[in-house]
Amino acid sequence: MLELNNLHVAIGGNEILKGIDLKINAGEVHAIMGPNGSGKSTLASVLAGREEYEVTSGEVLFQGENLLELDAETRAREGLFLAFQYPVEIPGVGNTYFLRTALNAVREHRGQAPLDAMDFLQLVKEKADVVKLDPSLLKRAVNEGFSGGEKKRNEIFHMAVLEPKLAILDETDSGLDIDALRIVSEGVNSLRDSERSFIVITHYQRLLDHIIPDFVHVLKDGRIVESGGRELALELEARGYDWLDSKAAVETAR
């Protein structure tokens, strides 16, 4: 599904990612954890195609294609989805209208006919149920005046409608209370299947109680310093990120 080989990324001359190797197969859920400033969100942005980041070396293959050659909208149409850490407000543009335009752009790319209004409405109702989205949010402008939790839920709703092949959740748990966290997680879990992969970026292990990852990676100072199974997240929760420093120091000393 996705393969990163020695990816180096800089912004404004500062190197943020310093050689990332990562392989994600179809159906896998990978959690990426790490302290503030470790490069987690940069990784999400680069994969989604944000232009201000400069890839200085390395490659990214998405379904065998060179992802870095594609512009952001083509990546989206190819099935890459980013749930934003800070979803953007678009005043005056109806949430449903926005999503229908987006879905039809994706469908057109896949050579499918656009969904008509009735079919789309049906789809929207189904998917809104899945993430327990308040139906009034469908009629409002995209994210405008939404609470933090509503915005995050709306992101998962977009994901449910667009049915991506690879979904990147960038700190989707931040700002969510326990109930919202559970609902968002259930939404994500309902979309898990053998064809769809997820990258879950988070600070906290608590999200991973709900979305059980297949792999956990720790990103620190632009490098993946540790990879493991779910138990790694628990260990991090118990011992903190500094534990990895001392562990690395011990290894270096050997």
């Binding site: 005056g92 543009v93 449903t96 229908r100 752009a105 409405l121 977009h158």
Partner: protein
């Protein structure tokens, strides 16, 4: 200068004790009074006059959007009868004679012409253009023969209208729109006159009205915009060629939207429209005006006057979509100069609502206004003004509160792209007699690209302590974050921009009659929001 992130207002705390020094000389607030009920609330006041907001970020793709070609630039080959360039009393008389006008109207034109000669062209608008040589303009052009029915209309003209998407045929009945099309200066076709006549409604060209309903013309012409009003109104009064006249009798609700499409076709011909709409007591009418013009190399002057008379409890809704040739993208050459005076006067409990979508013209100078004379009358102004390329717009409204319990609403959306300069200039005036007057104004500006400018000049004059006046303003820039968010959902940048602009203008578009709203959104390059959502 403060620019909030998109959608966020830069707010000063709303307080009647707002330090006026924060504002500037462009706002004059007189006699606000010490009465505690008096309040002047300025919400989100942003730097006001002289506030040139020049963005510095570069967004090439957005500029491409702003640089689209004008689609309606073609010239119809029709034989014209045109006066030689120049203006003097003989020309004024000749125009009047050509139209077989009664002597009082000839004299009225001459009076206006003499007054015009004493006036100076206004220099206060924030627009720049080469001086106009009024002697180099021809003041009359007409297709050679006058026609009785559509069948006789020059096929070429009809083809032109078709290219513009103006359905000037009976099919329009299905859409419920009667069309009085003005081709250059003379009305060439009027439909549905008979159907309207059944209800006693008069909808005809101004020239016809002069012949057939002289008493109504004599009573109302110049009653809202006197011939002395301003430089361009005086010029129009002297040389106006044609336009539309509407009269809705007492208690009649006009059963269809009345619509006029204006075009300027002849080279070097100024177009001087004169429109008069009278809604008698308890009458209602919705009037649509739309404009496109073919491409020309030389600037074309347009100085129109529109007068609206809403008698007691009458309701007039006047909507405009204006898409005249804006001039060359790089040089600004060849665009239309649009200097328009539009004003309505309200009787008791009556309502006048202006909605305008201004996307064309090299220069727009236009302030559709309402004189709230009758008690409990209502004035509204909804505006979208887009300036791209080298376009300049100085537009806004005047709401003059004379009657008691009068209220007015101003919603202005300015969009600047390319090297466009967009100014909102509005006056809210509450006179001593206007007890309990209320006004709400909202002026929002959106910037696309790095070389455009947005300016706001709100004037507020309050002479009655019971008045309540609110002014809100925002400036936003289409953000990279918004574009990227749309891109990430699979939308192209172009679609994202049109969608965001459409959303920005939504409050105004929803005031337009449906089919006009469609055209307006097309003009902004925006697809119609679907039936879902």
């Amino acid at each position: 200068m403060q620019i909030g992130p998109p959608g966020r207002q830069v707010a000063l705390s709303p307080s009647p004790q707002l330090p006026l020094s924060l504002l500037n000389a462009e706002i004059s607030i007189q006699e606000p009074g010490n009465d505690p009920t008096s309040s002047l609330v300025l919400l989100g006041a942003r730097p006001l006059s002289g506030n040139e907001v020049h963005m510095t970020d570069s967004t090439t793709t957005l500029e491409e959007f702003a640089n689209r070609e004008y689609e309606h630039g073609f010239v119809t080959d029709v034989e014209q009868e045109t006066f030689p360039p120049g203006l003097n009393e003989d020309v004024v008389r000749a125009i009047s004679a050509k139209k077989n006008e009664p002597d009082w109207l000839t004299q009225w034109r001459l009076k206006a012409f003499r007054h015009w000669q004493t006036m100076e062209e206004p220099s206060w608008p924030k627009v720049h253009y080469e001086p106009i040589d009024y002697q180099a303009i021809s003041y009359f052009a007409a297709p050679k023969k006058l026609l009785d029915s559509l069948d006789e209309v020059d096929p070429e003209i009809l083809t032109t209208y078709k290219k513009l998407g103006i359905p000037l045929d009976e099919q329009k009945a299905l859409a419920g729109v009667a069309v009085d099309a003005v081709f250059d200066s003379v009305s060439v076709a009027t439909t549905y006159k008979d159907k309207l006549a059944e209800k006693g409604i008069i909808f005809c060209s101004f020239s016809e009205a002069v012949q057939d309903h002289p008493e109504l013309i004599k009573k109302h012409l110049g009653s809202v915009v006197p011939h002395t009003d301003n430089f361009f109104a005086a010029l129009n009064s002297a040389v106006f060629s044609d336009g539309s006249f509407v009269y809705i009798p007492k208690g009649v609700r006009c059963p269809m939207e009345l619509s006029t499409y204006f075009r300027i076709n002849a080279s070097n011909t100024g177009q001087f429209e004169r429109t008069l709409i009278v809604a008698d007591e308890d009458a209602q009418v919705s009037y649509l005006e739309g404009c496109t013009a073919p491409q020309r190399d030389e600037n074309q002057l347009h100085a129109a006057v529109v007068e609206l008379v809403a008698l007691d409890r009458a309701n007039i809704k006047y909507s405009t979509v204006q898409n005249w040739y804006p001039g060359d993208k790089e040089t600004g050459k060849g665009g239309i100069f649009n200097f328009v005076t539009k004003r309505g006067v309200c009787g008791e409990k009556s309502k006048i609502s202006w909605t305008q979508v201004e996307t064309g013209s090299a220069i727009t100078w236009k302030y559709p206004s309402v004189i709230l004379k009758g008690d409990k009358s209502i004035g509204e102004f909804y505006s979208v003004a887009l300036t791209a390329g080298r376009q300049q717009a100085d537009t806004g409204t005047k709401m003059v509160h004379l009657g008691k319990d009068t209220s007015s609403t101003i919603i202005s959306k300015g969009i600047s792209a390319g090297k466009g300069q967009n100014s909102y200039r509005g006056l809210v005036k509450v006179t001593k007699s206007a007890d309990n007057a209320r006004n709400f104004s909202q002026c929002d500006s959106m910037l696309i690209g790095s070389q455009c400018g947005a300016h706001t000049f709100p004037y507020i004059e309050v002479r009655n302590p019971t008045a309540q006046v609110e002014h809100e303003a925002t400036t936003s820039k289409i953000g990279e974050d918004q574009i990227f968010y749309c891109n990430q959902r699979g939308l192209s940048t172009e679609d994202a921009v049109t969608m965001i602009v459409n959303g920005f203008c939504k409050e105004v578009f929803k005031e337009l009659p449906m089919e006009f709203a469609v055209e307006a959104q097309k003009l902004l390059g925006v697809s119609l929001e679907g039936s879902v959502g």
